[in-house]
Amino acid sequence: MSDIKIKIKDREGVIHEVLAPTDMAMNLMEVCKAYELPVEGTCGGMAMCASCQCYVLSDQQLPEKGEEEEAMLSEAFYVRNNSRLGCQINITENLEGLLVELAPEY
């Protein structure tokens, strides 16, 4: 398995191109934290805080939203149609080239 390249646009508009491993059971929130991008991940990845909300700007096929993610996004702020919780997006090879933007801090 190999690393994939993903692009994360921070809240200042700077795009960070990072390498994310596909064999470490990592999710997007964890990748952001690993690269010290300003993502809190308060609940640790349980879809319970929305501090890892991001907007998906590219068109890769993402895993469907689960019940918990839907519910959390329905209570979060700054939610758009392309909002996702980073912690619910597992890093897989088909996400090569993914571009996301961090949602404002809540």
Binding site: T42, C43, M46, S74, E75, F77, Y106
Partner: protein, 350 residues
């Protein structure tokens, strides 16, 4: 004024275990927490989630871990100031500290242990124009006294348990309860959802979904809110607006206590987890040092080492030897004693 040996800020797992370790050294603890119940994140965010990396527990629910920690510390009779946030700290000439909460409760202790996790939990505020102006003028994030709402019109916003529970509760008190949520589905206990549905049919709760409060109106206090449902906007007269969108942790006032802060965490010396201010320690998720891992088990370790140093500060010159509970047992401050039964050596008479 509340007086104690170690004043612990934060009643999460690390703070609670500190009570036990301090108790073994005959030091008394008092805990302050912004939440109304002990347990920190474990009880507030994920009480029903299993944790798999607590040594000796292959699996334990976060809520049960809290319960066990409370049980373990009970014999050392900790004091609690709950539902109040530690706001200011003052260092006295003798080196001891006075910590005052947002409600004015004062605590005096020679040692302060900050076990604040990610910070104190503050209500998440919807992004609405002029919202600050209406805070406590008809807009509340917590329901402190339900009587305030008697015979008043109330609008509640949110889709979780607290929004459901309070809508149900206030249905009998307020003259009109409107519950507004962005989705048709609620994230709450099944019977609460069922109850809200019943009350809606009885016209005791006015349910508007999928919709959102998008503007607040009023001269000095809330008089009406704008409710947006799809393309439609509706002006709804109300006396109170209660947005219940959960809580999010903020380091808060501790950030202004003169402590060395790095990325929202307090820098400590790993010898004993003391901060740059002698007598103030920081343990658990709130601290940072090279190699730091935010794990409950690391918080337990940090609490244990910290108590040794606290003892030495409080008892200068006195020798301290590590005691094993298997050997010495435990003497609770409540008069209880726990010890392993003595092995009986019996000679076999021949």
């Amino acid at each position: 004024m509340i007086q104690t040996d170690i004043l612990i800020i934060g009643a999460g797992p690390t703070g609670l275990f500190t009570v036990f370790e301090a108790g073994l050294l005959k030091l008394k603890c008092h805990l302050i927490d912004a939440l109304p119940q002990p347990g920190g994140q474990c009880s507030e965010i994920y009480p029903k989630k299993p944790i798999y990396d607590i040594p000796g527990f292959p699996e334990i629910l976060a809520g049960d871990l809290t319960k066990n920690l409370l049980e373990q510390s009970k014999q050392f009779e900790p004091g609690f100031t709950l539902g109040e946030r530690a706001e200011t700290i003052e260092k006295l000439e003798d080196g001891s500290f006075i910590v005052t909460t947002n409600k004015g409760t004062k605590h005096h202790a020679p040692i302060v242990a900050i076990a604040g996790g990610l910070g104190s939990f503050e209500p998440r505020k919807p992004k609405l124009y002029d919202i600050e102006k209406f805070e406590d003028n008809g807009l509340e994030y917590f329901i402190k006294d339900p009587e305030v709402y008697r015979n008043k019109k109330v609008v509640i916003s949110g889709g979780g348990d607290s929004a459901l529970d309070w809508s149900i509760f206030l249905a009998d008190i307020a003259s009109e309860v409107t519950l507004i949520h962005r989705r048709n589905e609620f994230r709450g206990a099944l019977d609460s959802v069922e109850k809200v549905r019943e009350l809606k049919i009885l016209n005791k709760i006015n349910l508007i979904t999928p919709a959102e409060v998008t503007a607040l109106h009023g001269y000095k206090k809330i008089e009406a809110v704008t409710v947006t449902k799809g393309e439609e906007e509706q002006l709804l007269e109300t006396d109170h607006f209660i947005p219940l969108f959960g809580l999010s942790p903020k380091l808060g006032p501790i950030g202004n206590w003169g402590l060395d802060i790095e990325k929202n965490a307090i820098k400590v010396d790993t010898f004993d987890y003391q901060t740059n201010i002698p007598g103030i320690f920081a343990i658990g998720d709130v601290n940072t040092y090279p190699g730091k891992l935010k794990l409950i088990l690391c918080g337990f370790h940090e609490a244990t080492l910290m108590c040794q140093s606290a003892y030495k500060i409080l008892n200068p010159g006195k020798k301290l030897v590590l005691k094993y509970t298997t050997v010495s047992g435990i003497d609770g401050f409540d008069g209880t004693r726990k010890e392993s039964p003595k092995a009986v050596v019996q000679a076999i008479n021949t």
